[in-house]
């Protein structure tokens, strides 16, 4: 029926089945993996990635990209962590963290949406600046005496299945964002802008505003992830969050979001994030060193992007050929066009 919906469903379902397949394969190789605690650990460790990937999904869906999320996460983690260490109230620290996200989002949005700079390069520059600011702020020192009370929240889990409240919260947040994106008028604008920015303008959608907001959402999500990072890991170094942008992009792509914009869903990117963060766990159970982690993440990213691009070109060509063939069919009576 609705070819778009079915396609989207298919894209998300494919990544979901891939996740299950991955678990099954590793389970066959090493049955010890299939314990509840291990499976739960895969989900629990994905919290930070799920949040940044959902944010990243916004910028990719509008047809851009944000590679500054890793440093935005790091910057927030360093500031929030040190504030809490120095006895600031959590609420104030969190507010400052979110404010960092908003500022970073505004800078990216200004450069990309308003000044029309190429997003990859602009956000790469912002990434560098933020990483540099982290060094200046900390003088290169780690933030390591984060209060136990803050760290402990991350361990609180549902009894029995051992899924942390953090993961459940991330899941709920993803679902809410998904509903906002698909069920509200403004939400639909996000994908519309990525699909055809000029067309969006003509029906009264402001592509600049939509892109700007997408960048703010993306950076704020990265900041939320930074706060969770603080609590979960309990130590923030100057390299915290380094390289997370690649994981987030890979998660989005793996979850069925097209890098050309306009296609995909945040549910998909969340599933992709779980897969990406599980890989380091799975490697251990398959007897590999986790040193392979980045190389594997990169390979997955490349393979999916290439396959996706080839498939898109193929289907476009096939469609064109079908349309042309229809014109020269032998049995063609004056064609049954519209009225």
């Amino acid at each position: 029926m609705n070819s778009l919906r079915t396609l989207l469903k298919k894209r998300e379902m494919t990544s979901f089945f891939f996740l299950i397949l991955l678990f099954a394969v590793v389970g066959c190789i090493n049955p010890a993996f299939l314990a509840v605690s291990n499976i739960a650990a895969c989900f629990n460790s994905s919290v930070v990635f799920v949040i940044i990937s959902v944010g990243m999904a916004f910028t990719i869906m509008v047809g851009e990209i944000d590679v500054s999320v890793g440093s935005c996460l790091g910057m927030t983690a360093v500031v929030v962590g040190s504030m809490i260490c120095n006895g600031a109230s959590w609420a104030v620290a969190f507010a400052v963290g979110i404010l960092i996200g908003i500022i970073v989002g505004c800078i990216n949005g200004f450069g990309v949406a308003i000044m029309k700079a190429p997003s990859l390069i602009f956000t790469l520059g912002v990434n560098g600046i933020l990483r540099g600011l982290m060094f200046i702020y900390t003088n290169g020192a780690d933030v390591n005496n984060i209060p136990k009370s803050f760290k402990d929240i991350s361990a609180k889990a549902l009894p029995g299945i051992k899924i942390t409240y953090y993961f459940i919260a991330a899941l709920i947040l993803t679902i809410i964002i998904h509903l906002l994106l698909t069920k509200t008028r403004k939400g639909r604008y996000v994908k519309a802008v990525g699909d055809n920015a000029d067309g969006a303008k003509l029906v009264g959608i402001d592509p600049v505003k939509t892109k700007f907001l997408s960048y703010i959402i993306c950076a704020v999500m990265a900041s939320i992830a930074g706060i969770l990072f603080c609590s979960r890991i309990g130590i923030v170094t100057t390299s915290s969050g380094n390289g997370y942008e690649m994981t987030a992009v890979a998660a989005c792509v793996l979850g069925g979001i097209s890098l050309t914009g306009g296609v995909g869903s945040v549910i998909g990117s969340a599933i992709g994030a779980v897969i990406m963060s599980s890989i380091s766990y799975l490697l251990v159970f398959m007897g590999f060193s986790s040193n392979y982690n980045d190389a594997i993440t990169g390979s997955i990213l490349i393979v999916i992007v290439v396959v996706d691009s080839v498939m898109q070109i193929r289907s476009r060509l096939k469609l064109r050929h079908e349309r042309l063939q229809a014109r020269t069919r032998d049995d063609m009576v004056t064609e049954g066009e519209n009225a």
Binding site: M1, S3, L4, R188, Y189, G199, L202, R320, R327, T328
Partner: protein
């Protein structure tokens, strides 16, 4: 400018004294027009007359430098698309701007503030009342151009547009689709919607408009009720004052005893089938047909851009069937695409770079370093021969007018020294003056013994230039005409498949 009247109560749209420049280039110089309910105002004018710019200003996509736009007596803020939309102005652009990854319904209903369920019902009702049948769940990237335009029109109708702007809506439509579009326009007119209709086709002007305006050089030079005009008067109004009309040469001096340069034998591919034809040295073979008949697809397949499904192509006796584009070019065939912007030009390169871009691999252009002297000579030769208006060889191609760009593209194709050149819609979208120049270039080529395969949807072009003509209808060659038989009636009826085998 003279009737710079206040927005009258009965004027749906009033445009007063609009000026707009892009940098030094003044595009609109005191543009004034008005539109009443139920009027269809046809705007005609050469390229660069400022029609599209004006429409974009009315839509609030561009901001004008001075002047005022009133819709329903209310002054519009310059550059606010949302205000234009909410005041009931809707433009169907020449190239429909749909969201390819969305369904038809999503495409139509996006951007509204009303509840979706109510909109859905209205959409279904609207389609029923005008007798259109479009599957709402289809993905937009599977639609034909005509269907995409219907989607755009529905968008406008659902917005309860009072003013519809149609920018060359028929340029990509088949004959039947044009008919059904006109039916819709007449319905809308009866409903009191004001329509601005931009076109290059004079026949259409007389068929559907109530008023006509000729735009030249950034202002309206002639305007009035359609009854006051004849086709000849419109043509006269369009032509720049200096253009000298040339008479059609009726004799052909092609030597048909020579071996053909190009021969197609039962050639088939995507979009065309079983085509056999021959082109002789020094001959211009016109290929007529409606848009979408499969002519471009045939040309592109010969040129190695798509898969051959059957048959043979011989160039000077050499089998070039299914060769790559590079090899076909080397063998002595070149193709000038109908879509200059997509496949024809290097927009931000200089004129000289464009002309020599196809022959950089040739040894006479220098072995390691390019022979820039040679490049200059060659470029100057084309600039002089073709009367290309440039400030210098180093002028950026994108800054030339459409007609001059087209001349450069033809020069670029000729620089490869082909035995046969395929020209696909060589004068589409260029003004009358440049058109005459391009015609002279084409005639000059055939005099030099070059064979030309001329694909054109402009019957007058085929009549003026061709030594022989064929028509293609629904992917098949259905008629061939000798010089003496080439006339509007024969070509048109064959293009629409009326003669040949009984189709209707």
């Amino acid at each position: 400018m003279e009737n710079n009247n206040k927005p009258g109560a009965d004027n749906l749209l009033q445009v007063c004294d609009i000026y707009k420049s892009f940098g030094d280039n003044a595009v609109l110089k005191g543009m004034t027009l008005s539109l009443k309910a139920g009027e269809v105002l046809s705007l005609i004018g050469g390229n660069g007359a400022g029609k599209s710019t004006l429409m974009k200003i009315i839509m609030g996509i561009y901001t004008h430098d001075s002047g005022k736009v009133y819709v329903d007596g209310k002054e519009m803020t310059a550059g606010k698309t949302t205000e234009a939309l909410s005041s009931g102005v809707y433009m169907v652009p020449q190239e429909p701007l749909l969201f390819p990854n969305m369904s038809v319904e999503e495409n139509i209903l996006i951007g509204f503030t009303r509840p979706q369920a109510e909109l859905h019902k209205e959409l279904v009702d609207t389609m029923k009342s005008i007798g259109w049948n479009l599957e709402l769940n289809r993905k937009a990237n599977t639609l034909s151009i005509a269907e995409q335009q219907l989607v755009e029109l529905l968008r406008g109708l659902l917005r309860h547009a009072k003013i519809l702007i149609l920018d060359e809506p028929t340029s990509a439509l088949t004959f039947k689709e044009v008919e059904s579009l006109f039916k819709v326009i007449k319905d809308l007119k009866a409903q009191g919607i004001g329509i601005i209709y931009i076109t290059h086709r004079l026949d259409e002007v007389f068929e559907i408009s109530t008023d006509v305006g000729i735009m030249r050089d950034g202002r309206i030079t002639l305007m009035g009720k359609i009854e006051e005009f004849t086709k000849a008067a419109l043509v006269k109004g369009l032509l720049p004052d200096t253009t000298d009309q040339q008479e059609v040469v009726s004799k052909t001096d092609v030597d048909y005893t020579k071996a053909p340069v190009l021969e197609l034998q039962n050639f088939s591919g995507y979009g065309f089938k079983d085509i056999s034809l021959k082109v002789y040295p020094g001959e211009i073979l016109g290929v007529a047909g409606v848009v979408g008949a499969g002519r471009t697809e045939m040309a592109q397949t010969i040129f190695g851009m798509d898969k051959v499904l059957g048959g043979k192509v011989y160039l000077d006796g050499q089998d070039i069937t299914g060769l790559s584009t590079q090899k076909v070019m080397k063998a002595g065939l070149n193709y000038v695409s109908e879509d200059r912007h997509a496949d024809g030009i290097f927009k931000i390169s200089s004129v000289a770079y464009n002309i020599t871009s196809g022959i950089l691999g040739e040894s006479f252009m220098g072995k390691v370093f390019l022979d820039t002297k040679k490049e200059k000579e060659l470029t100057q030769q084309y600039i002089d021969d073709f009367r290309i208006k440039v400030t210098g060889q180093d002028q950026e191609l994108g800054s030339l007018s459409g007609g001059n760009q087209q001349k450069v593209v033809i020069g670029h194709a000729l620089a490869t020294g082909p035995k046969l050149i395929i020209l696909d819609e060589p004068t589409r979208g260029i003004d009358a003056g440049a058109r005459t120049d391009v015609y002279n270039i084409i005639k000059g080529l055939s005099k030099k013994g070059l064979a030309v395969l001329l694909i054109s949807s402009d019957m007058e072009e085929i009549i003026e230039l061709s030594d022989r003509a064929v028509t293609i209808h629904q992917g098949r060659l259905n008629c061939e005409f000798a010089r003496s038989e080439i006339n509007q009636e024969n070509l048109t009826s064959a293009s629409f498949g009326v003669v040949g085998k009984e189709k209707e």
